[in-house]
Amino acid sequence: MKKCLVVDDSKVIRMVARRILEELNFEIEEAVDGQDALDACNRTMPDAVLLDWNMPVKSGIEFLRDLRKTDGGGDPVVVFCTTENDMSHIREAIEAGANEYIMKPFDREIIEAKFAQVGLL
């Protein structure tokens, strides 16, 4: 079973994402901000990360830059999932090493399509 780390400061979003991803056969771990996510990755590297952008303590983009510098941190497939929906944010995410990008609001179909595109399904 593949492991997906769901990173979002909103409990509701984490719950919705968890439900969708569990149905897609992922084992879910949750993190509430970028630092929490980095700690989780240092314990066990997940196969995938669903990543919010704006969070307290450490943002999603800061987490991603740190992750990609970490040992083994190049492996997880990182899918942003954020309300930031302009081209400059998307470009910035790709440059930082994001594999896919979901603009909120999302639904099951979008998550499924994006995860399939990056070879996670």
Binding site: I94, A98, E100
Partner: protein, 269 residues
């Protein structure tokens, strides 16, 4: 909806578009035609049907046909056919057409443009191998309304997230307010024309590749055979036909045969 109303609407649709409406699709009539009734100031479907009974108003009939034949579409729908096109079919065509350097593709049920634009993106991505080539993508659909949307190349945030890899969004789209517009360089690769597959399409020239996906499923056997027969006539002997996942030529026509190892792809027989 009562039986007589259903029969009237389904016979209109069969006659005008070839669409075969089975009773289990009654909900589709309701969900898609009520807005048309409302647009005309009527309360609902019953009023719409009785207005058709009184006068066969062409504008109403045309709106009904469009609403019922418009299908959902995604970029790179099902993914696999586009991979097969890029990795298997295109390289062969580049080889066999190396002298003429022309390639013509027909999207026979283009809907809101996602399929022809996906093919245009594939061609664009392979541009390095196609220097000096003249490529044409002709995209047709029964519905003028969807063709207008297709031509505009404007898609909602929701639409660009279904099937389109983010790298392609960045590379080939521009943000226009809340919408995303496919770049003029891609739009310019596709020509849109209204066309009813039940009518003669012999005048469009020949096509090396035909995408006719998820439209035959709405036709009865005879209509499928007839449309496929006329399609084969406008393809060269090494032409390739792509059908939808739930469609086949087997038991329908002998004008095409399945290609070994390539699901959903058919060669001219």
């Amino acid at each position: 909806m009562n039986q007589t109303d259903f029969e009237l609407l389904s016979s209109i649709l069969k006659e005008r578009s070839g669409l075969v409406l089975t009773p289990d699709k009654t909900y589709l009539l309701e969900s898609r035609l009520v807005p048309i009734a409302r647009k005309r100031g009527m309360a609902g479907l019953e009023d719409l049907v009785s207005s058709i009974r009184q006068s066969k108003d062409e504008a109403v009939l045309s709106d009904i046909t469009e609403a019922m034949t418009t299908n959902e579409s995604f970029f790179f729908r099902d993914q696999k056919p586009f991979d097969v096109f890029e990795k298997e079919v295109l390289p062969k065509l580049l080889e066999s057409r190396a002298d003429k350097k022309t390639l013509r593709i027909w999207c026979a049920a283009a809907s809101t443009g996602q399929e022809p634009y996906s093919l245009a993106i594939v061609l664009k991505e392979n541009a390095a191998k196609m220097a000096g080539w003249r490529t044409e993508i002709v995209a047709t659909d029964l519905s003028n309304e969807v063709l207008e949307k297709a031509k505009s190349g404007l898609y909602s945030q929701f639409e660009v997230q279904r099937g389109l890899p983010i790298q392609f969004l960045v590379k080939y789209f521009n943000q226009v307010n809340e919408m995303w517009q496919i770049d003029a360089s891609i739009r310019g690769m596709v020509q849109y024309k209204p066309l009813n597959l039940l009518e003669n399409f012999g005048g469009m020239g020949t096509f090396d590749v035909v995408f006719c996906r998820n439209v035959l499923i709405y036709f009865d056997q005879d209509t499928k055979a007839e449309v496929l027969g006329r399609t084969a006539k406008i393809m060269p002997s090494d032409g390739m036909l792509f059908l939808g996942g739930a469609e086949t030529v087997l038991g329908v026509t002998d004008k095409f045969k399945p290609v070994d190892g390539l699901r959903g792809v058919y060669a001219v027989a």
